[in-house]
Symmetry: D2
Subunit: 444 residues, 4 copies
């Protein structure tokens, strides 16, 4: 429980050095309360020895699966989807001969029981299986640890592979000296041994269903230097800013950002519309936990603890302030007030993503429908509500095209070369929280 | 993990005040390593809601049961016997109608699967089931919480019952304001609701098998003010001392004790043989963890940190020193040396229990056969090995008679009144660690 | 802050292994609140390098000394007497030549400023000075670390001295492999180097003043195996019990103790009056912090958490229960009730020390006058108030004679040999808390 | 000890709510090791009650002052300059009448004893004195807490003062709902009561000496939204970037920053030279403590844990990378390597401050001379050493003019109005670490 840096102290890590493979998962509780019991990996002993499972995602039919397992007589000790997956892998009948468990069959059996969403790792003895659900809703990619000697050299071709790593986000590879290798494909079952990465199977989606990678990874969750579907997240965000400049231009003196997540979009917006990019807020690096709330003054000024104001940069000027998203509408309002009080002449808000309106059942912790600003009456006059001179969101089409533009270009180039298997490659994105259109039936 | 006083801080306890029933167990790891995962109670969700299980003991056929459960497809997440019990209770087929679980049938099913050793509590909704294995190997007793008003009064008959408590040892009742009510009988299934204690069934032992309550609870584990089988542990220990005086008298000036556990035996011995009882050692209350071991001097004097020497009490005298048990022989030897160096003329050791020679498979953590002093060559001249002028253990027969004397007297009185069911009441005690005779076949 | 075992973890101790001398003091806050700043030793840098001071006691004229120092311009950073001592040692004018500080002169200067109470250690470079105030109010004694080889041998004469240790209580020596060497005398200044212990001076008391070692060290504070003034504390306590049997006999069936501190007195009483010594209470070793106090039941039964009742030992019998002291009267009352409820026919209380009536200004934390049972109206019918059949305290004369009996015998033997210096050796004891007669004027 | 957020837990803060004034200081150990004893504020009891002192800075003549105090007989318990200040305030002779301490006289006395560097707060009863040394080496400014009602209104003139706050950096005011009021002037002694801020005196510098505010506060230490000498730190940094573009232009495709501290300079540089500003690195927010260093791979890639690489933004391009300072040269080298390996065609380094060559004795923790890259032989071909295509530092004159430009403009405007006191206002800055010219003699 707690931040990785606190949990994995030097002493704790030393105990792990005896080994050369392992799995884990830093949770952000979604379904399953944040409790010690829900910590991953889930480890159980089976007839064939121990298996460990780390799981990112949320099973869309978890309720039905719980009941099914309990009816079989399995007592469930946590509220976690990941325990379900683990017990399903332990349980799957018919059981094989004691000596030769068929893990691929069991994994496919699991995938038949539940369509989405899961990216998971299963470890058994010295093998790790990496699996992504057929819709590819959650990310998963593979990195290659290369020898130190070859790292420093420029000729990457001769570098020697020292091992493999799997991660939700490719940005983590650099910091451990690994290189991005490739994504695990939707539905793919990959077997990883020390020196080898091998595709065992690709479980298809029902005919006609497009893939459904979560579009909010691009908008909000992922680190800007991560790569999904062949493109850098930062580039997608900048394209969103450019698209926003096209969709919602405004007469102003400068373009700025709510640091740091909206900066790529702000730079894209500024470049597209030809206005100067200027910083108006700086981040307070030492915010930490906000204990000190004895009176109304401080509650009212909560946002002022997060940001410093660079007032000399914008006094008397008209600001276009780019934010990456407005979910509840609580944060942007005091920022606008802060800027006005510090001398801004006008504050126009441009949001580099569409309004969130619907719940996510696939692993993302979204506020309740009632809390979402887009579902409130005030949304009809949002500018007034948040105190802005104007406010415009990016359109869903604008977001989707910003995301898919370069994928489609690349795909067309590839398709002109090899024309089969296109039904598997039908690219789509899950925009359920924006449109209410879920990739599978909710009562699957 | 840790001592109760550390774990159950005031804050933690406050969270429990919303409730009015609960179970728990302070483990002392036996089978099942001391790990967070093995902490009790085990809680699982079943088709009929959550059940919680607290278990004292060790299943003699745990290995076979683990395999059986895993073959059914249950992944086991701990190395604990108690998880086995919990999953067996969740699992037991045939499953009843969803709405009316038959917990007694399930508990009896469990008792058919494993003969010993377990004293356990199972909680489901507002009912607690207290169960003791048919051999009664581990203790379990019931106490009655009485109203404050009636506590202070002398007329106990009018006191009002406010609730029920169950414990391994009756000594715990006094400290929470409860009164000893009765033991759970070997094989008994008791159902406890807020105001009612009800025997649901008594599962019999195989014909001819005597009960097998662990004799070492009397000798070593239990607190002296606890009551088992109708007698106070202190009284048994004093009888052991008296019996030891009969079996192994010695010419000396004074009788003393290794404080504090051997004191009742020492007082019994002194009284029986007519020698004065004198203290020769005092306990160092602040021993704590013994970090300070930088050099040979301190390692050699380890025991001197545990005890102070009351040398003026025994200078120039012949001591009979009573100990409750000598297991490894590491402790008594430096004590003898300490006494001699402080002026004792002779030191005769008398041990108020027989030598331990065999492993326990029923929940008691006994050193390996090799570590037991009784299995070492030095045992043949133990006095010389530990530096004593003489050393004698109590005989097995002496111990058993000290334990059973008052039980048998009582039973004879009762049997003269009501004569049936005697096969269930056949009283015996588990002396496996002393004699190698286990109450059931080890490969049950 | 905290228990030694928690503070001096293995890691903390390792840092000290580079060194071969050191001082410290475990405080029990008396004057000076229990705060981090008051932790000892006090270390200050002076013109002649660092000095460190550890101090046991309480300066009777602390207030005047504080003012004197502050008037000189020293800002005091704690409320502790020990800082006063340290600054007085740093400050004492006239300052000597920079290169040769005269620490003995400074220590004597300090002793002129304040008569009592202090036993203190001052460390400067590789020398430790051990000092006891002229009245000898607080204890201080010296132990000798002997080589491991000589420890195990019987011929102690040939043992090699490896170093010296100083302690309030001699009981601590055994646990680190040291031998009791001698007491520091009242007024003595001892210089300790690695291999040598040297008396530098003995500062006399005003003519006619007897020494004034705290009599409550014998009664209550010290561990029974400690030696003061040539006698074992345990022996004094047993003599108190014997004296009590003479002063206050009672017709009863058995003598018992409030464990563990009253046991020597109880054994002395039992032996003197010929009644059997029997245990009626056993200590609950796991009491710890008493968090669990949700309702009246538990508050009322506080004492029941501390003790178990050995009811079979005294049912239907008349008990003489010996306690070492009754200060507030809160504890004995529920014990008596517990014994009666468990079957005692009569409970007679005999207290092996006189009633405490006056405050201590010399380092002992005594309850306020109002809290002391001896100053309450109820004291006139104490037996009724605490629920006993009778209650008698030991007389002041009885206590003093029990303490001084063997000292005087020894002294007479010595005096018959060497007759001078008797005014220094005039033995007395501080009984201020019992009699209100303080060893020095309170406004000294 | 530790981060503010850890030390001041909610529970700890609650204890402070009873009070309405207080002082403190977050140290960053400079002189005085980072030990508990050196924690501020220093509190001592004086003849006139307690005083508490919080001190930012380092006394240039600490050694001489320590000796002086110890010669007077004061034992010093820490290695901290701040204890010196506290004892000097407690001690200063001649002592006044007991009842009316003259704190201003004492503070001026202290200022006569030591010229720099200190910004300090002294609290006595309900008054806080804020003092800045005559050279103004360390910053200190005053903020005004205004009532909640007036905060939200636009008309600031009518706002009601609720209290006063003092801080090293004005950026802290916003986050507690306070407004910047003014700087404490060099040499000024300000008395602060609940509603009033009053200048008691301004102690002058020796004739001809200019003020000497630390120029590295602008370059490196301060938060960009802080205000010193009437100007925002961010603006100074941007001017440094503009000046750098003038001094050291380069033919390239884009200008970027080492986030986040160099961003204002990078934006200034980009704007001045007309190149696009593009992000090439993103900060890894979760770096934390870097425990995981088992092998050479990770040590070599240390910097890769701090930054992510936005490779798509600069592949095949020539980068001008702005850094705020290069002190040891350890960090920039792997960043350059990282950029090249990720596709940068050229990497030119421009540093927005001059090279550091000399130690600071006034409170800033600068590496030893040997560690400073500017003092190493490699500095003569620094570009080669760090792997850059070129590297140029800002000139000292360029830095000083960037800092003083707007101050001088403002001062000229003011001087044209009121012409006296100009000797006090002679503005200078401490550039000792860059030039070796210290504001006062080092053996003062």
């Amino acid at each position: 429980m707690g931040l990785i840096n606190h949990v994995f102290s030097e002493d704790n890590l030393k105990k792990l050095y005896v080994s050369n493979l392992g799995i884990g998962h830093t949770r952000y509780s979604t379904s399953g309360i944040s409790e010690l019991e829900n910590c991953q990996p889930f480890v159980v002993e089976t007839l064939h020895g121990k298996i460990a499972v780390a799981h990112n995602g949320e099973l869309i039919n978890a309720k039905q699966l719980r009941r099914k397992l309990m009816r079989h007589g399995v007592g469930l000790s946590t509220s976690s989807d990941s325990e379900l997956i683990t017990q399903l892998l332990a349980f799957t009948p018919p059981l094989e001969n004691d000596d030769t468990p068929d893990w691929v069959a069991r994994i496919k059996n699991l995938m038949n029981e539940t369509p989405t969403s899961y990216s998971l790792l299963m470890m058994h003895k010295d093998i790790i299986y990496a699996v992504r659900d057929p819709y590819g809703n959650r990310p998963l990619c593979i990195g290659r640890l290369i020898s130190v000697g070859s790292m420093s050299g420029k000729g990457k071709k001769n570098s020697e592979t020292e091992g493999w790593v799997v991660s939700s986000e490719s940005c983590s590879f650099l910091s451990i000296g690994a290189q991005y290798y490739r994504e695990v494909l939707p539905g793919e079952i990959v077997k990883i041994s020390r020196y080898d990465v091998q595709t065992l199977d690709v479980v298809p989606r029902p005919e006609g269903d497009p893939s459904a990678f979560c579009i909010f990874e691009y908008v909000y969750f992922a680190r800007p230097d991560s790569i999904f579907e062949g493109q850098m997240v930062y580039s997608v965000r900048r394209r969103c800013g450019q698209q926003l400049a096209v969709e919602a231009p405004v007469e102003a003196d400068l373009v700025s950002t709510v640091p740091e997540s909206a900066t790529p979009a702000a730079l894209g917006y500024a470049q597209k519309c030809g206005l100067p990019y200027v910083e108006v807020l700086c981040k307070n690096r030492y915010v930490g936990r906000t204990f000190i709330q004895p009176n109304m003054r401080l509650r009212q000024l909560g946002v002022a603890k997060k940001f410093g104001v660079l007032s000399d940069n914008f006094k008397g000027k008209r600001i276009v302030l780019i934010d990456d998203s407005i979910v509840r509408g609580n944060t942007i309002s005091p920022i606008i007030k802060l800027l006005r009080e510090s001398g801004a002449k006008e504050v126009h808000i441009r949001v580099a993503s569409p309004p969130i309106k619907f719940p996510c059942y696939m692993g993302i912790n979204i506020p309740t429908k009632e809390e979402l600003i887009a579902n409130k009456p005030e949304f009809h006059d949002l500018a007034k509500y948040i105190g802005a001179d104007s406010v415009v969101y990016l359109s869903v089409e604008g977001l989707v095209s910003s995301v898919q533009e370069s994928i489609k270009t690349r795909q067309e180039n590839q398709n002109s070369l090899k024309t089969n298997k296109t039904h598997v490659r039908k690219i789509g994105h899950c925009t359920a929280c924006l449109t209410g259109e879920y990739p599978v039936e909710l009562d699957w």
